[in-house]
Amino acid sequence: MMRLNALSLRGWLGRRKAGPTAFSTSKVERSATCGSCRHFNNDPGRLEREIKGLAALSSARASVRADDGICALHDRLAGRRFRCHHHSGIATLSRGSTRERCFATS
C-alpha cells in the first residue's frame, strides 16, 4: 500500500506542511542563516574530500553548487541561506571584526 501511495501525485509531492517548519519568518531566524553557523562549511576542497566521487565527474568549484556546504550537525548539504533551529554560529558582521555569541532557537 505504501508503495502504491508513492506512485500517486500526493505521494510524489508529499503533504503540504502547515506552520513554520518549512521556513520561519521570526526575527531571530531571519538573521540566522547557515552561512553564519559554525557547523556549516562550504570550503570546496573539503566538499570534494568528504563527498566521494564529486571531483571525478564534477567539481565543488562549479557554478551549479552555488554556495552550498555541509552541515556537520545534521550531516546534510545545505544552502548558505538556509535557516535552522539549531543555528550555533559565530557570525561575522560587517568588516569581519565583530563576533556574535552562538544561539539556538529551539
Binding site: F23, H39, I51, K52, G53, L57, S59, S63, I90
Partner: protein, 470 residues
C-alpha cells in the same frame, strides 16, 4: 542534547563563517568563469592574430599521423620546442586559474607534468593509422589508462589538484563554441531543447517514481532523478544542496551516476558503431543519454573520430560534437537551476523538513546556471563576427585552417586532459557503497532514457541531426 550535538559537530566542522562565492566574486572564485577567461582568451588571441595574418598554429602542435614508430619519434623530436611552449602555456594559464580557485600551484605542477606526458602519449596513439582497427580511440584509451593507474597502481591523493575533469572539459566546450556557427545554435537549439526536455522529464519521473516505489527517501530520489535527467554528478550535488540532502545519500547518488556514466562511455559509441549511425544522429543520442559532460564528450569524440576511418559512418566529427553539445549543454545543462529551484520549493513546502531549510529564491536559477555556456555562445558569436563577410568557400579556404583549426587542436588537448582526469580521479574502492535499490531505480531510468533518446534521435528528429552543417 542539542548542545552536545552542536559542540561535537562544531569540533568536527571547526570552521569560521562560510565563504560566499556569489555575486561578482564568482568571476574569480568559480571554475566556470575561469574556463571562460582561458577559453575566450585563446579565441580572442586567435582572432587578433588572424586579423594580422598570423595564427596559433605553432603552439597548437599535435602529433602527426604515423604508421611506423620511427616516424612518430622523429615528429616528436622535431617539434619538441613547440610541445615545450604549449606545455608552458597550459601550465601557466592553469596555475593562475587554479591558484585563484584555492588550489596550490606547487601541487598542481608535478601532477600536470604527468598529465601532459600521458596526453601526448594518448594523442600519439590516436594518430596511428591502425588505431581505429584496434578500437584505440584516444578518449577511450585515456579513460582506461587513467582508471588503470588510479585503481591498480595508485597515485597520491594530492595529485588530484591537477586532475580537474570539469575545468578542462569546460575549457574544451568554450573552444568548441568557436567551431559552431551561431546560426546553427539558433537553428538547432530549439530542437535540442525539445528533444532533451522530453527525455529529461520522462527520465526524472521514472527514476523518481522507481526510487519511491523501492522505498528510497524523496531527496535521494530527486538527486538520482535529476542526476539521470540533466547533468549527472553536477546535478546530484546541485539538487542535494537545494533540497538539503544527506551527505551519505549525495555520495550514493554520485556513485550511481559515475558507474553508469563510465559504462555509457563505452556502450553508446559501440552500439552506434554497430548500427553505423550518422555522426550527427549519434551525437544527439549520446547527448540525450549520457549523464555527465566529460563522459559524454569522451563518448561523442570517440564516435566522431571513427568518421572517415570506418566504412558506413556518414557525416563528420564536428557533427557528432555539435549535436552532442547542443543536446547536452543547451538542451539539458542550462536548466539545472530551474530543476533546483522547483525541487527546493517542493522540498520546503511539501517534504518533511525537520532540520534545516530555507525560503527558495528565484535567484538560485542564476546562481546555479552553468556559466561556461555563456563562454561557449560568446566564442561562437566572436568567430561568426570575424568571418562574417566570408563566403563558405573562402571560410573553408582561409579561416578554417588558420583561425579555427588551431583552436580545434587546443580543444582536443583540453578534452584529453579531461578524459585522462576522469580515470585518474575515479577510484572505485573509495566510492560510496550505493546499495542495490538506488542502482535499480537509476537503471530503470537508464533504460527509458536510452530508448527514448534513441527513438527521438534516429527517427523523430533524425533529419535535423543529419543536416547539421555549416
Amino acid at each position: 542534547m542539542a548542545e552536545e550535538l552542536a559542540a561535537e559537530a562544531g569540533a568536527i566542522a571547526g570552521s569560521g563563517p562560510a565563504r560566499s562565492t556569489s555575486g561578482w566574486q564568482e568571476l574569480w572564485l568559480k571554475e566556470d568563469w575561469w574556463s571562460i577567461w582561458l577559453g575566450l582568451g585563446l579565441v580572442l588571441a586567435s582572432s587578433l592574430l588572424y586579423a594580422q595574418g598570423l595564427n596559433l598554429r605553432w603552439i597548437a602542435v599535435t602529433p602527426a599521423r604515423w604508421s611506423m614508430p620511427e616516424q612518430l619519434v622523429h615528429d616528436l623530436i622535431a617539434n619538441a620546442p613547440r610541445y615545450l611552449a604549449q606545455f608552458t602555456l597550459w601550465l601557466v594559464a592553469f596555475s593562475i586559474a587554479l591558484k585563484a580557485l584555492g588550489l596550490r600551484a606547487a601541487r598542481f605542477v608535478p601532477g600536470f607534468i604527468l598529465l601532459y606526458v600521458l596526453a601526448v602519449a594518448i594523442f600519439a596513439i590516436g594518430q596511428w593509422d591502425q588505431a581505429s582497427a584496434y578500437n584505440l580511440e584516444p578518449p577511450l584509451v585515456a579513460l582506461l589508462v587513467g582508471l588503470a593507474i588510479s585503481n591498480l597502481i595508485g597515485l597520491p591523493r594530492w595529485l588530484d589538484d591537477s586532475f580537474r575533469v570539469e575545468f578542462y572539459v569546460k575549457i574544451g566546450i568554450v573552444l568548441l563554441g568557436a567551431t559552431l556557427p551561431v546560426a546553427l545554435i539558433v537553428w538547432a537549439g530549439p530542437i535540442a531543447i525539445l528533444q532533451a526536455s522530453t527525455v529529461s522529464v520522462a527520465t526524472f519521473l521514472v527514476i523518481f517514481w522507481a526510487s519511491r516505489w523501492l522505498g528510497l527517501e524523496r531527496r535521494l530520489a530527486a538527486m538520482l532523478g535529476v542526476g539521470g535527467a540533466v547533468c549527472g554528478v553536477s546535478a546530484a550535488i546541485a539538487i542535494s544542496g537545494a533540497v538539503g540532502g544527506k551527505k551519505q545519500d549525495t555520495s550514493i547518488a554520485i556513485t550511481t551516476v559515475i558507474v553508469w556514466a563510465i559504462v555509457m562511455i563505452f556502450v553508446l559509441p559501440l552500439v552506434a558503431r554497430a548500427l553505423s549511425l550518422h555522426a550527427g544522429v549519434a551525437g544527439a543520442w549520446i547527448g540525450t543519454s549520457e549523464f555527465a559532460d566529460a563522459a559524454g564528450f569522451a563518448a561523442a569524440q570517440a564516435y566522431g573520430n571513427l568518421v572517415g576511418k570506418v566504412p558506413g559512418i556518414a557525416g563528420s566529427t564536428d557533427q557528432t560534437l555539435w549535436a552532442f553539445t547542443l543536446m547536452k549543454v543547451v538542451g539539458r545543462d542550462v536548466w539545472i537551476g530551474i530543476w533546483a529551484f522547483v525541487l527546493a520549493i517542493i522540498a520546503t513546502t511539501r517534504w518533511e523538513v525537520s532540520e534545516g531549510g530555507g525560503r527558495p529564491d528565484p535567484a538560485e536559477i542564476w546562481w546555479r546556471f552553468p556559466k561556461f555556456v555563456l563562454g561557449f555562445v560568446v566564442a561562437s558569436l566572436l568567430i561568426t563576427f570575424v568571418t562574417w563577410d566570408l563566403s563558405l568557400a573562402d571560410y573553408n579556404r582561409s579561416a578554417a585552417p588558420i583561425l579555427v583549426a588551431p583552436l580545434k587542436d587546443l580543444r582536443t588537448w583540453a578534452f584529453i586532459f579531461s578524459f585522462l582526469s576522469i580515470g585518474l580521479t575515479t577510484r572505485f574502492r573509495e566510492l560510496a557503497h550505493s546499495g542495490l535499490r538506488p542502482f535499480i531505480a537509476f537503471s530503470i531510468g537508464v533504460v527509458i532514457n536510452v530508448t527514448l533518446g534513441f527513438v527521438l534521435s534516429t527517427i523523430v528528429f533524425a533529419p535535423y541531426w543529419e543536416s547539421l552543417t555549416r
